[in-house]
Symmetry: C2
Subunit: 121 residues, 2 copies
Amino acid sequence: MSISEAEAKVMEALWAQAPQSAEDLFTRISGEQEWQLSTLKTLLGRLLTKGAIAADKDGRRFLYRPVLERSQYLAEQSQSLIDRLFSGRLAPLVAHFSAQRSLKPDDVAELKALIKQLEQP
Amino acid sequence: MSISEAEAKVMEALWAQAPQSAEDLFTRISGEQEWQLSTLKTLLGRLLTKGAIAADKDGRRFLYRPVLERSQYLAEQSQSLIDRLFSGRLAPLVAHFSAQRSLKPDDVAELKALIKQLEQP
DNA sequence: GCCGATCGATTACGCATGTAATTTTTCGAT
DNA sequence: ATCGAAAAATTACATGCGTAATCGATCGGC
């Protein structure tokens, strides 16, 4: 059921716009990704098998659309990371970033605004 | 160079305590992980090849210790996630969690404290 | 209705991974 | 010096993934 790295790139393209044909996708993705068309087709096939996308016939070709929602994918990936590495809690992850000094003032401001919003629902 | 899921579990055990022999590790990890000893040995071998751990001879056996630091591993994993899914910025990840309503009041409080600390260095 | 272009489906293949059994090496004890 | 236990190294094997070529089906034009 898990989406691989390469498959995720296809999902991103479909989340950005759907439905799209294989050709459409190929055009969009080229530039980001140096794939042959048949590579993309393989990935589409695998995503279909996994049920992450669906295909609707449109004349002689198929139009693909996501079934798995992006927000759900984000949730799974994020949750998995903080479960595996941060005991399931978000704050330690943020603390980690701050310890690495990889938080720019903008980030801090944005976080602060978020928190404020969370406190006054 | 990348550490796999199973390998990461071995690393966690070594980060928790080092150095340890394969037997030590096996004892510690059993209960969490249903591995045969030889599975663990395979993983140790692969980690050695990858340079993530080192081994020092101690009589007839080896004592293993981490070379890769946990904080670096955390940094790589976390950065990779937010790069792939959140345009490289932390705030959107936090926003995602809040949108999922998976932030408990404790978490919010903890985050708030963190932010405060970041503002007054 | 047949032919070729255009899609999708099938097959391929090397490498990583999860999991483990088997083989080889090496000490320590006799 | 030899033998056996214990540890490490090698080999194994199925599955998933990245990448792609090729085969097969199908539709539109003649």
